[in-house]
């Protein structure tokens, strides 16, 4: 078959049954398939959010609305059997004093903070490398580009590698290093797409010829122009790191547990309604983040396709 096309001969003019079928049903079939996939992907998300407000689920659909009991369990606002699987409280002693601060919603706050630290590292690391491989052509730039946009190591492997590498580091620092490494490709991709839309050489040369030094050109001309990519990269890295599981599962310590471990404990041990509330907490974050990305002109997590 492929030989026909390569030799340039004209395919059979008799279109046959398959041809007639594709002419009549092809578009409808593909459209239906897209609809089916969208329903398969989105329905459970909606059902989970709705079920988180339900008091009972024994039939096809959840029932007994509206109750906030599941949310109270998950947020740790009621002292019941499921309290171990709530977000918990983080007892933080202030260095230098005898003061102990109780941080509520510990798992969530902890993970969001570590992920934020990861974003800072990703900015320092990801923006320069994205600029270097987009603007300059040098030995190894192609390889460096591939390494920067494809994660070097899958999360679970990195977790095993970390078990004996930094035994004396606190879990929070270990998680920070891991999240930074695992999420940097998303930052590089997002920033690179901004850089590729700019004429970097011309911008740089104009600024330089007007007397700006090279560091000043980069910091005050190039980087501000890539603002959109930098912002959407930061948002995506932050969200993905806050819910990272595979690496966290290998290296976390208790008190406070990372957010993804809180989700895991609920998924494996809680009833379906409380789990629905726990997972909906994350959906709420992603929905907010998606709206923020939309306002930056980015369609959801679409750059996350490369992984």
């Amino acid at each position: 078959m492929s030989g026909d096309a390569a030799e340039g001969s004209v395919p059979d003019r008799n279109i046959g049954r398959a041809g007639r079928l594709s002419a009549v049903f092809g578009r409808a079939a593909v459209t239906g398939l897209i609809g089916l996939v969208a329903v398969f992907l989105v329905t459970p998300i909606l059902v989970a959010v709705i079920a988180s407000f339900a008091g009972d689920w024994t039939g096809i659909l959840p029932a007994d609305f509206i109750t906030l009991e599941n949310w109270r369990h998950v947020l740790g606002l009621s002292d019941t059997a499921g309290a171990q699987r709530a977000l918990g409280t983080w007892q933080l002693s202030v260095p230098g004093t005898a003061l102990v601060v109780n941080v509520p919603f510990a798992s969530l706050v902890f993970s969001l903070l570590i992920a934020l630290g990861g974003v800072v590292v990703n900015l320092v690391v990801g923006v320069p490398i994205a600029y270097a491989v987009t603007r300059y052509d040098f030995t190894g730039s192609g390889l460096l580009n591939t390494v920067a946009v494809l994660p070097l190591v899958p999360g679970i492997i990195l977790g095993i590698a970390f078990l004996r590498t930094y035994p004396n580091l606190p879990a929070s620092i270990t998680l920070l290093i891991g999240y930074s490494l695992l999420k940097v490709p998303y930052m590089v991709l997002a920033v690179q797409s901004s850089f590729e839309a700019m004429d970097l050489r011309q911008l740089e040369e104009s600024a330089r010829s007007l007397g700006a030094s090279w560091p000043r050109t980069v910091l005050t001309v190039i980087v501000p122009n890539a603002k959109r990519g930098i912002l959407s990269g930061s948002i995506i890295c932050w969200t993905l790191a806050a819910a990272e599981f595979n690496f966290s599962y290998m290296v976390y310590s208790r008190n406070p547990r990372p957010f993804s471990i809180f989700l895991y404990n609920n998924i494996t041990n809680s009833g379906i309604l409380q789990t629905a509330a726990a997972v909906s907490l994350y959906f709420a974050i992603v929905a907010g983040v998606t709206a923020a990305l939309q306002s930056l002109g980015q369609r959801g997590f679409s750059i996350g396709g490369v992984r």
Partner: protein
């Protein structure tokens, strides 16, 4: 370079580093800028990947399960004997336990199967999104991209909402056919049963279809519409147009998507951990760690897995027609 003797190399090196520290020419300055821009990444890659990987390989040949001590190659011997024992016909004469070979084989066939299905569906989705005037296309794109943000454990829960004993579809079909929901649920079944594997299969697809679709959307954006219109005007059917005009243009993108999606499939862990339907390599790590803490064995298996994915990805992207456009 081959004519340089020892001192020549030293002088050349000194010239290079001297150029970096106190550049005299514009080329030197550019080299210094590139070095400054790439340094943070190289530091992170060293601290976050190279050093831990070194310790992982060192741990895989350690005599102690808890610390780096001594030198042994037992874990690799066990691993390769096990792989050999799992090979049909040849393996029958080998007395080793084939468990690692079986785990690796499961990862490969299940990953390949889910990859092919995901990329095929991804092509259809990318095609429709690019070519057809679908209603609310922007919203559709956002919705299909949403699962990319979900960790594997949440994906497993999404599958439970559809197909567990209390799941929506399980109970729907139970009400329709009169069967007991326990008998037709796809999750919560004993491992390696057909129903459990079907549930895991759908879990893999849930993560992989969106990734495959968005990888292919990049390739579709570069397709030449004029050629397709010409083919249609000359009487080709939609299928012939796709087969002879569109497919040759997106083929490098499809190969790239196959490579990267297969990579994703091999690295899935959370979904398997929750659904427990098949023992794949990532699931075996967890078993080695939680049953006797056999870190040398887990490290050896992780090392093999890492080298395989690295070679597979880079050789695949380098020596096939693969193209990745995000």
């Amino acid at each position: 370079m081959s004519t340089l003797d020892g001192t020549g190399v030293l002088a050349w090196l000194r010239g290079r580093t001297g150029g970096l520290l106190s550049p005299r020419t514009e080329a030197d300055r550019e080299r210094r800028r590139i070095a400054a821009l790439t340094l943070p990444f190289l530091v992170l890659a060293t601290v976050g990947a190279f050093v831990p990987l070194f310790y992982m390989f060192r741990m895989s040949v350690s005599e102690s399960r808890f610390a780096i001590e001594g030198l042994q190659f037992d874990s690799y011997v066990t691993l390769f004997e096990s792989v050999a024992a799992a090979v049909p016909v040849v393996g029958e004469g080998i007395a080793a336990d084939p468990v690692y070979g079986e785990v690796i084989w499961t990862s490969l066939w299940f990953g390949a199967l889910t990859t092919v299905v995901s990329v095929a569906l991804g092509v259809a989705i990318a095609h429709g999104l690019e070519k057809y005037p679908l209603p609310r296309k922007g919203t559709l794109v956002t919705l299909i991209s949403f699962p990319i943000s979900l960790p594997g454990i949440v994906v497993a829960f999404m599958i439970q909402i559809w197909f567990s004993q209390t799941g929506v579809l399980t109970n729907f079909f139970a009400a329709l056919s009169g069967a007991d929901p326990i008998d037709i649920a796809l999750t919560g079944q004993p491992p390696e049963t057909t129903l459990a594997i079907a549930g895991l299969f759908l879990g893999y697809l849930y993560s992989m279809i969106p990734r495959a679709a968005f990888l292919l959307r990049g390739s579709y954006a570069e397709v030449n519409d004029d050629a397709e219109e010409a083919a249609r005007a000359l009487g080709a059917t939609p299928w012939q147009t796709f087969r002879y005009v569109t497919l040759p243009q997106i083929r490098p993108g499809v190969v790239g998507a196959l490579i990267l999606t297969f990579r994703t499939a091999l690295a899935i862990f959370g979904t398997v951990l929750v659904l427990k339907a098949l023992s794949v390599v990532t699931f075996r790590f967890q078993y080695e760690i939680s049953n006797g803490y056999d870190l040398p064995m887990a490290s050896a298996l992780a090392g093999l897995f890492f080298v395989f994915t690295l070679l597979f990805t880079f050789l695949g992207l380098r020596y096939t027609s693969a193209e990745v456009s995000a």
